[in-house]
């Protein structure tokens, strides 16, 4: 896999319960936006579909809009952020 550019996905809280993993790696390709990222994630972890409906993406620790204004870059750390409940 070292021959391919990758990006990392982190799963928290209900997303981790659905994916059963803390983190995994995806092969990078150009043009992965919020919608295509959602498709990739559900393909690998079908139970994530419900969680993703109410989650945000954070890329490199910044919240991203839920639209096509951004795409994943090689080496990015993408986190799935279910509704937060700190405090």
């Amino acid at each position: 896999q070292g021959n391919f550019a990758q990006f990392t996905v982190l799963y928290f809280a209900s997303a981790k319960d659905a994916s059963k993993v803390d983190t995994d790696k995806f092969e990078w390709s150009a043009g992965i936006n919020a919608q295509t990222l959602t498709n990739l994630l559900v393909e690998r972890h079908p139970d994530l579909g419900y969680v993703l409906k109410t989650s945000m993406f954070a890329v490199n620790m910044e919240y991203m809009e839920n639209d096509s204004s951004w795409t994943v870059q090689p080496g990015d750390e993408v986190a799935i952020i279910p509704p937060v409940s700190g405090g």
Binding site: L10, F12, A13, S14, D17, T54, M56, A58, M61, Y63, A79, I81, P82, P83, V84, S85, G86, G87
Partner: protein
Amino acid sequence: MKDIVKITSDIISLDEIANALLAKIQNKEVKTLAYEAYIPMAEKSIQSLINTARQKWDDLIHVAIVHKIGDCPVGETSVVIAVSSGHRKQGLEAVHWLIDELKVKVPIWKKEVYTNGGPDGTDGGEVWKANNALP
């Protein structure tokens, strides 16, 4: 529900007072809370909230925000937001704003672990909670 009112020459312990208050709260249903965080992003976003607070209230002197992760039995402190400021009005407003923002923006999650019947009437179980709004 007797209030605690005391004029004392003893050194005041915040922990003792918090424990005395919390001891009065009946723990009926929720046995334990468990917090999880995306730690580096949580620290970064808390620091970013503090920076914004310092712009909104230029009178703030020192700020401390500490959040518990892992198991947190009901009655133990889960979060502290402490500020010092030249005028107490600014400090109090800043604390209010900081806790409101923390609750909707900082990637920390709370799970309730039930022992005496969950919200659906069954025994045991766990539920991830959600605060008011999406970040």
